[in-house]
C-alpha cells in the first residue's frame, strides 16, 4: 500500500507534482485559518478573555493571513517561470537590504556605495543567476563587491568609523543579496536525472525552511518551557526546536518524491536546513538587537519585516545549495 503510494507520487510529472504541493500548502493554510478563527471565537465567548491570549491569537491570525499572501505571490512567480522567480527574489533582496541599511548607521561618504549596492549590484547578481553564470555568481560579492565597495567609500575621504561602516555594509550585502540569492540559484544547477524540475527543489527548500519556523513556533507556544537563548531570541524554546525540528525532518523525508534525493537523504537535507535556519534566526536576531531594534521592519503583518521572515532562508540557502551542487551535479 505505502510502496504503491510512493510509486504513484514518484511517477507524477513535474507539473502535477507542483499542483499537488500547492494544494497541500493551501489545505494546511485553510486548517490554520479555521483553527485561528475557532480559537478567537471561543476566547471571545468567555466572560473575561485574557489580554495576552487575545494578543497571541490575533498575531496568529495575521501571521496566517500574511502566509496566504506570501504563498500566492510565490506561486504566481513560479508559474511565471525562471524570470518571474528571479525577479521576485531580486525584490526580496532589495527589501531585505533596505531593512538592514535603515538600521545600520552609515555616513554621507557611503552614499554612492549604497546606491550602487541597491541599483547595480542586485540586478547584476540576479542577472548572473538568470544566465546560469555560476563562476561569476559565486565570486561577485565575496570578491569584487568586497574590494570595490570600500574603495568607493574611501573616495569620500572620511575615516570616521571606516572599518565598522565597510564591515556592516559588506554584512548586509552578503546576507540580503548573496545568501538569499542561493535559494533561486538552485534553478541554475544541472542536477543529474532531474532536468526541468529545479523549481520543485526550490519549492522543497522554501517549504522546509518555513515549515521549520512555523512548527517551532507552534510547538514552542504549545509546550515551550525551556528558553534556548533568552537574551538573543526570547521566543525560541528547546521544546519548540526539538518538536518543530523533528516533525519538519519527517515531512522532509516524506517529500523525497519532489527532490533528486532518496527518502533518507531528504531527511538528512531537511535536518541541515532546519539546523542552519535555526542558527540564522539566532544570528540575525543578535544583529538586530545589537542595532537596537526588536523587528527588522513592519512590512509583513504579524511577522515583522522581510528579514524576520528571511533570516533562516539566508543561512540555510547557501549550505543547501552547495550540498546539492557537490553531491548531485556532475
Amino acid at each position: 500500500m505505502l510502496t504503491q503510494l510512493a510509486n504513484t507520487l514518484e511517477a507524477l510529472d513535474p507539473t502535477h507534482k507542483f499542483y499537488w504541493l500547492i494544494g497541500a500548502v493551501a489545505a494546511l493554510l485553510l486548517i490554520a485559518s479555521i483553527v485561528g478563527w475557532v480559537l478567537k471565537h471561543r476566547l471571545l465567548a468567555k466572560n473575561n478573555p485574557s489580554e495576552k491570549s487575545l494578543k497571541l491569537i490575533n498575531n496568529l491570525i495575521s501571521r496566517v493571513n500574511a502566509w496566504w499572501v506570501m504563498v500566492a505571490i510565490l506561486v504566481i512567480a513560479f508559474l511565471a517561470g525562471k524570470l518571474g522567480t528571479i525577479i521576485l527574489f531580486g525584490f526580496i533582496s532589495y527589501f531585505a537590504l533596505r531593512e538592514f541599511m535603515t538600521l545600520t548607521p552609515t555616513r554621507a561618504g557611503d552614499h554612492r556605495t549604497l546606491s550602487l549596492a541597491f541599483f547595480l549590484l542586485i540586478p547584476l547578481h540576479y542577472y548572473l543567476i538568470y544566465t546560469d553564470w555560476y563562476g561569476l555568481f559565486s565570486v561577485l560579492i565575496p570578491v569584487y563587491a568586497f574590494l570595490l565597495m570600500p574603495s568607493i567609500s574611501v573616495l569620500a575621504h572620511d575615516t570616521e568609523h571606516f572599518l565598522e561602516r565597510a564591515a556592516k555594509i559588506q554584512w548586509g550585502v552578503m546576507v540580503a543579496i548573496y545568501c538569499i540569492s542561493h535559494a533561486p540559484a538552485l534553478l541554475l544547477l544541472p542536477i543529474t536525472n532531474f532536468e526541468g524540475r529545479n523549481t520543485l527543489l526550490l519549492f522543497y527548500f522554501l517549504l522546509i525552511v518555513q515549515l521549520s519556523d512555523v512548527l517551532q513556533y507552534v510547538f514552542g507556544n504549545l509546550f515551550g518551557k525551556t528558553k534556548v537563548a533568552p537574551i538573543v531570541s526570547p521566543n525560541k524554546t528547546l521544546e519548540g526546536l526539538i518538536g518543530g525540528g523533528l516533525s519538519t525532518i519527517l515531512v522532509g523525508a516524506g517529500l523525497w518524491w519532489i527532490t533528486p534525493f532518496t527518502a533518507l537523504q531528504s531527511a538528512g537535507m531537511a535536518a541541515i536546513i532546519v539546523t542552519m535556519g535555526f542558527l540564522g534566526g539566532l544570528v540575525m536576531s543578535a544583529i538586530k538587537r545589537s542595532l537596537g531594534a526588536k523587528d527588522w521592519g513592519n512590512m509583513i503583518e504579524g511577522h515583522g519585516g522581510m528579514l524576520d521572515r528571511m533570516d533562516s532562508v539566508s543561512f540555510a540557502a547557501p549550505v543547501f545549495f552547495h550540498l546539492v551542487r557537490y553531491y548531485f551535479t556532475p
Binding site: T102, A108, L114, F118, G297
Partner: protein, 201 residues
C-alpha cells in the same frame, strides 16, 4: 487620466523607495483643515509626507513648493501643479508682494498645507531654526490645526547634491496638534513649533 496614472506611479515609486509608512504618535488622522509642518532634508520630503497621508486627506492637502524650482520646465510644472496640486511660492523676498499670499489664499479656500518652516534643505537629523512663515499663517488662521511631522531617514536617503537615492525605510511620524496661543511672541512660538518636531525624534 494622465494625472491619475502619474499620481499612482509616484505613490508606488515612493513606497518602493522609502516606504513612507505613517505613524500617528500624537493624534489620529483627521479631516479638519490642517497645516502639516515638517523638517526639510531632501527632495523626497514632500512626496514622503504626501504618500503617508490617508488617500482622502491627501486629496485636499497641498504641498508648498518653491516657484523658482518647480515652476520651471513642463514636466516639473505638470508634477507640481497637476499631480501634487502644489502651492508655489516665491523664495526671494520682494517688497511689492507678500510671499505668503498664495498660502493665505489656499487656507482661505479650505485647503490643508504641507509646509517646511526651515525654508531650505539641510542633510541632518534635526531641523534648523524656523522662519516666520508658519507663525504668520497660524496667526491669520488660528482655527487651522498645526500638526508637527518628523521624517526620519530621508537626510540619509537623498542628501543635497546626490543623484541617486539610497532606499531606506522612512517612518513619517505625526505628532499632537500644536496649540495656538494668541498672546505668544513670534520667537517663542517658533521655538515651541520646532520643539514639537524634535519631540518626535
Amino acid at each position: 487620466m494622465l494625472v491619475n496614472i502619474t499620481r499612482l506611479a509616484m505613490i508606488v515609486l515612493v513606497r518602493l523607495l522609502v516606504g513612507a509608512h505613517p505613524r500617528w504618535v500624537g493624534a489620529e488622522p483627521s479631516f479638519a483643515q490642517s497645516i502639516y509642518f515638517t523638517n526639510h532634508t531632501s527632495h523626497l520630503d514632500t512626496l514622503a509626507l504626501w504618500v503617508a497621508l490617508p488617500a482622502d486627506i491627501r486629496a485636499k492637502t497641498r504641498p508648498v513648493a518653491a516657484k523658482d524650482y518647480w515652476g520651471r520646465g513642463k514636466i516639473k510644472q505638470f508634477i507640481a501643479l497637476k499631480v501634487l496640486n502644489a502651492v508655489l511660492i516665491e523664495r526671494e523676498v520682494s517688497r511689492h508682494r507678500d510671499p505668503l499670499a498664495p498660502l493665505l489664499a489656499a487656507l482661505a479656500a479650505g485647503d490643508s498645507l504641507i509646509l517646511f518652516p526651515e525654508g531650505t534643505r539641510k542633510a541632518q537629523a534635526e531641523p534648523s531654526d524656523f522662519k516666520g512663515g508658519l507663525y504668520h499663517l497660524a496667526e491669520a488662521f488660528p482655527q487651522v490645526k498645526l500638526i508637527p511631522v518628523y521624517l526620519d531617514t530621508l537626510h540619509r536617503s537623498m542628501p543635497k547634491g546626490s543623484y541617486l537615492p539610497v532606499p531606506l525605510i522612512c517612518t513619517v511620524r505625526f505628532g499632537a496638534t500644536l496649540l495656538w496661543h494668541a498672546d505668544e511672541h513670534k520667537k517663542a512660538f517658533l521655538t515651541r513649533a520646532r520643539a514639537a518636531i524634535l519631540h518626535l525624534i
